[in-house]
Symmetry: C2
DNA sequence: CGATGGTTTGAGGCTATTCAAACCCAGTGG
DNA sequence: CCACTGGGTTTGAATAGCCTCAAACCATCG
């Protein structure tokens, strides 16, 4: 189960046995985490990189007036800030949205693998670029789409990133977001998110249960969102197994 | 003038003569560009990295319905997508907002310098991280602030990034954005941007002329924006000379 | 001097917010 | 086993912020 990183990175680079071994060594010591637990906080001095093995996390900032803006969702296989330890201080926080398992990788180990395993370094670059692409698309989503398509777009992205497209036939997948979370990610109030999600349900596009989202009509949802998965780059090709 | 990159990167790493020489070699051949000219377009296969020497550029995406969302402003010293050539296809376009000078750096030269000059590589990483931080802050800005403080926030960022804080005593600096640009960057209509900017003027915080912004009360503007420059990291320390 | 691109202004309408309360469900403890 | 609690969802009514459409204005430029 903890070779999830290798499996993810392998999409973007051919690794030899040494690469794989080095990656495996990183992910030896896992640590259970509970819902709400912080991996790191704004203002902290980052000394470790986190790898999510199980569960979802959120990256967010808090404004002086108490408002919260979520700027990313992290799911199994995602690395938090591969190179953030270059900076002095975290400018945001990361907390778990569900229970799960994570690995804390010391900065030095990370640096070492980057120096000694160019193919791994390249794959990590790739991840960073994809993350940046997601950030840009979020900007487009919040800046240029209205609530209905905005929420639809987020659901499409999460569906694909969670790898649920090909895996589970029925379209039901783990998605531990509250409506408040959705609002804080998309710049909407939870009240409006509620009303809009029911509109999506009424249209027969999705349904929801606690911690689960049910894709009833993925094509319809993509339509509503004007969703174009190009920005996720190769992510959407799971090539299962 | 074309040592602007070296000067910028020097903030984050100590270079030796070879580092400096390698950087200088990159920026030998400059190319004049006019306002509106594209450096690269969505869908293109990126083979070069661009360095802006003079003038401002914008990074943007176009939606199916024709709406445009600007996701970044680039100014002298900024590199466009240091590693984007790892990806197959551009997922956005970059065009000049004013005339200027740029350098096109072949991907291979870029790769070579990263491999052979670890200090330069590290400084480039730093730039990428800062760019990502800016992207996150834009998300917060669009998602969680109302028009008045949102525009104020953008102006604060541009003022600092343009290096105008310390340099020009009077607070007047080059800023080639139309009100439409501001709107497309912040998720507002140009009409509303117009009204809001006049409100900022009425409050005595800024004034504007063609291609110029005049900071009348930077402290007041920061207040209005709840601006905290931490996300720009070391950028704001110009250490002139 | 007309053309063009950008700014300004007005009026009306819609989207999303605010505030407030009710509701539902799962977990907890008496 | 039922009352209680707390987090999350749902609903309503009133309002604010921002948008749409439309037109006028202004400066610059060939």
């Amino acid at each position: 189960m903890s070779d999830i990183l290798t499996r993810k990175l392998r999409r973007w680079a051919k690794f030899d046995d040494q690469d794989r071994a080095a990656l495996d060594r990183l992910t030896m010591v896992t640590r259970p985490v509970v819902r709400g637990q912080h991996l790191i906080r704004e203002g902290d001095d980052p000394t470790h990189v986190f790898l999510i093995l199980e569960g979802w996390a959120q990256r967010y900032k808090i404004l002086p007036d108490g408002k919260r803006q979520i700027v990313a969702f992290l799911m199994p296989g995602d690395l938090c800030d591969t190179h953030v330890f270059i900076l002095e201080k975290m400018d945001h926080s990361i907390s778990m949205m569900s229970e799960g398992q994570v690995v804390s990788i010391p900065a030095n180990d990370m640096l070492a693998i980057i120096e000694n395993h160019p193919r791994v370094a390249q794959a990590l670059w790739w991840c960073t670029l994809v993350d940046e692409g997601i950030l840009r698309e979020w900007l487009v989503n919040i800046g240029a789409r209205e609530a209905y398509s905005r929420i639809a777009h987020l659901f499409c992205e999460l569906y694909i990133r969670a790898g649920a497209v090909a895996r589970e036939g029925n379209g039901d997948f783990f998605m531990p977001l509250t409506q408040t979370d959705v609002g804080e990610a998309l710049g909407l109030t939870s009240v409006h998110v509620n009303r809009t999600i029911r509109a999506l349900k009424r249209s027969g596009l999705v349904d929801a249960a606690k911690n689960r989202l049910l894709m009833l009509d993925f094509e319809g949802l993509k339509d509503a969102a004007r969703f174009d998965s190009a920005y996720l780059h190769a992510r959407l090709v799971p090539l299962g197994g």
